[in-house]
């Protein structure tokens, strides 16, 4: 009886990685999945924060895929190490702040480190190779014929990385040469056409999966990338903490002046989430009328906070009132109540919206 070969699969929760795992299971490979948390993941957080999203079906798609395919899934927090990928991408950004090629190299490299660690620990009983759901031509930045060998080389995975969905279009890998898997049972998908994947899913009875090619990373989002760029510009340096990138996902971001910006909650769920940050920011709360919580980030003066309250008033039920009262609580200071005049629409510069 031969050795049971094992593989680690990068599982995003989308259709491609799901099919890639299943394709290897069809060849008798024992697969375990790994899913990386970068801090920029779209689902989960936004659903958890926004009350209007809480009616939607909530599930972690990577875990759901793992359950559906009967594999273990390890979720790894790489948010700290990932900063270097975002801040210093060797191969640059895509259309927005998305360092897709560096990201893929980094993630395959992490999987390769897991593979090597497991091999060291249990000699021949560890993982033998890595699986990804990459398809040549699927993504303009990272999934091209010329980037496939680059990812394999730069990640250190070399010929231990298998792309079952397009493996027939790529040079033979170690698992193929060793006879652990059969090349002819892999696929030759290419391009952005999703029909072959959808047909394969249908064939295997996989009828429920996360929307194909749906952006799962906030860095591919124009609006989010703009807010991140604004954050760096305002602070004068390109760094971030996890809380920074979480807060870019919520509220309206309004910058009336370079030294401060407002984050105005849009609904109850965001309000509750932002309450958790009230000690780390200056806060503005309407008293005389209903309205959202506003956090003020940066180094506002006392006058700036008064002006910020006037701006925040535009998003409250008192926006047409002659005057409103607000509670202002400076960061680390004592809260006080002021009377302000809501800013008039003609005085609100649309360019303040980030």
């Amino acid at each position: 009886m031969g050795i049971q070969r094992k593989a680690i699969a990068l599982v995003s929760g989308g259709l491609d990685s799901m099919l890639a795992v299943r394709a290897m299971q069809e060849q008798g490979i024992h697969v375990e999945g790994v899913n990386f948390f970068t801090g920029f993941c779209v689902e989960g957080h936004t659903h958890a924060i926004r009350k209007q999203d809480q009616e939607k079906q909530k599930r972690n798609n990577a875990l759901w895929v793992a359950e559906r395919l009967g594999i273990k899934l390890h979720i790894e927090d790489i948010s700290e190490e990932y900063k270097d990928v975002v801040l210093n991408p060797r191969y640059g950004y895509g259309a927005h702040m998305n360092p897709c090629l560096d990201c893929k190299i980094f993630m395959v490299g992490k999987a390769n480190a897991m593979l090597n660690r497991a091999r060291e620990l249990v000699a021949d009983g560890g993982f033998d190779f890595i699986i990804t759901g990459e398809v040549i031509g699927q993504r303009p930045k990272s999934q091209r014929k010329d980037t496939m060998p680059l990812i394999a080389r730069e990640s250190g995975a070399e010929d231990r990385i298998v792309r079952p969905l397009c493996g027939k279009n790529l040079p033979a890998t170690l698992p193929e040469r060793e006879g652990w898997i059969q090349r002819e049972l892999m696929y030759d998908f290419s391009g952005r056409n999703r029909k072959p994947q959808i047909a394969l899913a249908e064939k295997w009875g996989l009828d429920d999966y996360a929307q194909p090619a749906g952006g799962c990373c906030f860095l591919t989002d124009e609006s989010y990338s703009r807010k991140l760029g604004d954050l760096w510009q305002a602070r004068g340096h390109r760094e971030y903490e996890l809380d920074d990138i979480m807060l870019l996902k919520v509220g309206r971001h309004i910058r009336p002046a370079p030294n401060y910006k407002l984050i105005v909650s849009r609904e109850e769920g965001e309000n509750n989430f932002m309450e958790g940050y009230r000690k780390q920011f200056h806060t503005l709360r309407p008293i005389s009328h209903g309205g959202p919580l506003t956090l003020v980030d940066g180094t506002p003066t006392d006058d700036d906070l008064l002006f910020a309250a006037r701006v925040a008033a535009r998003f409250s039920q008192g926006k047409h009132a002659d005057t409103m009262t607000f509670q202002i609580e400076p960061k680390g200071g004592t809260a006080f109540v002021v009377s302000i005049v809501p800013i008039r629409p003609e005085d609100f510069d649309p360019k303040w919206h980030i």
Partner: protein
């Protein structure tokens, strides 16, 4: 003799509670109990899903006020 451990994941958004519980469970022997409390309702789905794929048993899930609770029993490690 199995032990009961508490993990406070309040303020964390999924998947961070799952990741933290995963790290804790890795160090525990089979049969130990872990009681998780969080503020993200997603833990009611994600932690049980994680338990199912790793062979741990969910003993209960519930909401009390604004907090969500999941209690699990550590399964056999493989």
């Amino acid at each position: 003799m199995s032990e009961t451990h508490q993990y406070d994941a309040r303020g964390l958004l999924c998947p961070l509670p799952v990741i933290r519980v995963q790290s804790l469970v890795k160090k525990l022997p089979e049969g130990d109990i872990v009681e998780v409390v969080g503020t993200d309702p997603g833990i009611l789905h994600d932690i049980p899903a994680w338990c199912r794929v790793h062979g741990h048993t969910v003993l209960s899930t519930e909401q009390r006020g604004k907090d969500y609770y999941v209690t699990l029993k550590v399964g056999e490690k493989s």
